[in-house]
Symmetry: D3
Subunit: 226 residues, 6 copies
């Protein structure tokens, strides 16, 4: 049950260096490092290809068709943040465009994750301000109802607490709990390193069947070669 | 109720200079200038990123899986037109490809908006002929049933009259009534100018909260800071 | 009814030169040359724009959330193959990423067609390893249940037999039966040649109405010009 | 482009007896009688099975998440009307429930067609007040923005003018222009009568192949029996 | 690759008594008895609740918006058959209604499975002629292009050969290969019997944890109780 | 980030009498009483019409295609509970059927809310065991991976803590926090009582325009009558 009409100003952000570092691993490796959890729904897509960012979440909850709270959340942004915007019901209107992006960027935000629509795609691409959204839509919004800033929100089927770390790239969006960020970064680093070794062996033509020693288990389970 | 089997040759096109100028504002600004109306459904997507065009609508209605009328409409195209194609039922077949695009482009068309599928994406991208469609599909069509050309059609939930102005970009597709095009262009210009000033202030770090004087209203409505 | 737990090693691949040549025509022309059949559903999309490939199918069937068999199929890949992966139920998890792509590429595969999700999009784009998938997802998979390799599979509503030819590009994915590949290549070549002549005439402003002699038939069917 | 903030009180309703009679034919026969046009999208579904109604349209346009105008339209309802509600953007919130249904029913409305969500399904079923909607949702709405009443609206991809006839049943929703209602009723009656004769012959085991004399045409077109 | 324009008259139907008996087990038990395969996509839904049938497949392939071949297939129906209709592309038009149902029923068909739309729902419900379809739509179709009858077709992602057994109920639609029907019926009977015993024990309050002896395995795998 | 492989046995259930009473108000009224929040996505639909229940949540998290944990959760059910099942990724397989329903019912469960598929619809309907699910599917599942029981889960975009109250009916599914259940029940009772008075006045023909005194506000906002 959401608390409406409140703005929390003092939130506990995850460690800045850890929050920034997680981007280097990407959403897939990070979610694996957490035990294959933490991913938003696959309908969340980047508005342009190639962006890969991570940062600390400031959250905002809005009602359908009303983007007023995006101006309220702008004031709460600190450098290194990623804004996570949730709506109380399914809505694809264009809540966010180049003016708000200019403001967010000026405040130091690294991107926006919004469970609604986004517009001014060409401008945002030129500005290099990445957005992950459920839709692209020119549809404008109004400014007449209250929502909240920096409460826990559900966005694309994940719960995000203010200060959590968001990792977003071409593959999707992943959420890392603040308290687990350091540990996840270490696990992700190990995983990435291990994968690097595997990549070389696979590139040389060696098979995963041999590298991972799958043959025996598969035979035991009854796999037949004909 | 559609009139079938007719081609209207003499249509009233919106003023050419106005029709062309609207592209500079983009679909989002234009739809705002009209009072937040006139947008096609968000499932209409450009086949490649970056195109931003406007022009006068010539319309065509077809039955599912039958693209015959696209050849009929080709003859009605004048330079500066955008073809708007509607189908009598949901269908994603590839009604349009590089051959028809070659013909449309030779006739002076600036693009196609089609509530069905499109194919030959790579060729169309190289030709620089933009299409907004509901799907991409190799599925070919037949040529056996009549439709109509230059009747009012419903395309992606908007009604388009021949001669209306179409504004299409990465954000979507917007329709401007012929009779209102000049007035909308003026309103859009004002809006764009106003936004330009806002953009500079926001880029300097000033907040929308202060520029738009939201603080007092929000406080009155009960927004609490904690 | 699928046969589970088997790997067929000796499959009859379509003629390599024919299989390679079909890419030059693209999926739309090839499917037309077959009588407008053979296309996978339009939800199968390339992970990046511009790839156009063809090759012989090696097939793999998997259970939802389990990508183990992709390692098994890797061993069966020969240069010029395209892997076609089917799942026994709808699933969008990220079965395939850069490690498996490295292995597939090392074995000579030209691409992957998978009725599930794909991840590591940025890496795959840089590697130039094209994938057609129903979703993009960071969600990892497990390795615990058997499937099969090189049995006939249903992928995106087409049945694919091992050794069939796959043609995939920005427009979609088309399947050509092994036994018909040569004949289809000839028909496609004729069609492409014929289209080339049409393209020139259309580019010069000539109308399809005249080139295809549609006027008389349309008049007989009752098309009225007003 | 919608006109916002207006209520048209004097609309030209289609002839009451014709409007009522069309229900007896059903949406499928009526749309056939009009030349296979006039159907709303198939996502419009009845909230319970078995209702089959027709009546004159009073229309209402609303913004997403705001059902205020349903109270405004209630006052414009006359016995025999069906309310047609459109929203300016895709929205599935529950705009309509048992209280409004009580009011609509007291005013003589025969049903509601709404391109949004509906709630209180059990109550509406018990009241026998049929609704065709795009979704079922408990989500409540607010009362804060103006829309319009009795302007032409686009609902589920059809344009509806106030006073048009709506025919709705388990198969979907069909719109008949006011000016054409009498003629359509006659065509539908003929069609229904003709079908009655066919039904008897088919029930006795006679084949459509013989009744409609399809054999010769099919043979000419090349259908082969093996 | 579909063969177009042919009707196969002599097909090998599965044993009639087996084909009829499979209905008693239902689609879920039958698909389990086959190793969890053979199910059509879940978008195939019955037009009314409660029907549970099985029978031998006669198949038909049609082009979008054209139901001509349903009259051709009617002649090939024998008592105990279920018609399986596939379309060459995604299409939701209403291919089938009460007239064709009257004919199919008179010929002895037990139902229809169609990867397209169906209409006249109320009549079909009263007639007790069950249909599983992907959509309900009043949209009529034409009769102008050839398809085929009794060729193997892909319907809702399953391949169906003429003479295979179809099992359809509220849960969905399952396909059983002709050659495996007897064996599957035996396996399903065993499974049903076994389930009956389980049902009694579960109804008495005994837990599946104990009946299936899950506790030890779960503990070994590390499940912790807190 | 989900905790995997754990079963919490001692959870704080909401007061039983409150939990039971909330059903009488229905999901729409309850969610209004909470400030228009707490609703699951509208894709969650009842498997049969007319059920209206409420109870305390016991939760379960599962991996796609694996229903093992439903047996584990069965043991944790107490009379008056409703099981809430979440899956770590989108999956429509039939996790739940008549055997598990028999067990759940024997343990005193009032229903199941599952963000996946359900089967044995006819049996469940006859048993009167209501299920709200995202799909109906015969597809069986395996029993091989651990999940968790009675951890907080995200189901259809709501977070549910064990012991929260679930209210489910034909309109959808609503979640009430344990700590707020009593207060919400009171607010809902007041709202229901207030609505009862309104219903009578509306049934007598009085307009909401007058009952709620909308006329003046609408006039001030500029609504024009023509």
């Amino acid at each position: 049950m959401y608390e409406l009409g409140v703005v929390y100003r003092n939130i506990q952000r995850a460690d800045a260096s850890v929050a920034e570092k997680l981007a280097t691993f990407g959403s897939a490796t990070v979610h694996e490092a957490m035990g294959r959890v933490g991913l938003m729904k696959t309908y969340m897509r980047p508005i342009y290809a190639g962006a890969q960012v991570s940062g600390t979440a400031v959250t905002v909850l809005m009602q359908p068709g009303d983007n007023w709270m995006l101006h309220v959340v702008a004031e709460q942004i600190k450098p290194g943040d990623i804004v996570v915007a949730a709506i109380t019901t399914d809505n694809t209107d264009g809540f966010f465009g180049d003016l708000l992006a200019t403001s967010f960027q000026a405040r130091g935000a690294r991107g926006l994750v919004i469970d609604a629509g986004c517009r001014d795609i060409r401008d945002l691409t030129e500005m290099g301000f990445p957005v992950w959204s459920r839709a692209i839509s020119s549809k404008g919004t109004i400014k007449s109802t209250l929502g909240s800033v920096n409460i826990p929100v559900i966005c694309a089927a994940q719960i995000i607490h203010p200060g959590d770390v968001i990792v977003a790239d071409d593959d999707g969006v992943c959420v890392v709990r603040n308290a687990e960020a350091t540990q996840v970064a270490e696990a992700a680093a190990k995983r990435a390193e291990m994968e690097e070794g595997k990549r070389k062996r696979l590139a040389s033509g060696e098979l995963g069947m041999d590298i991972y020693k799958f043959r025996e288990t598969l035979a035991e389970m009854g796999l037949k070669y004909i």
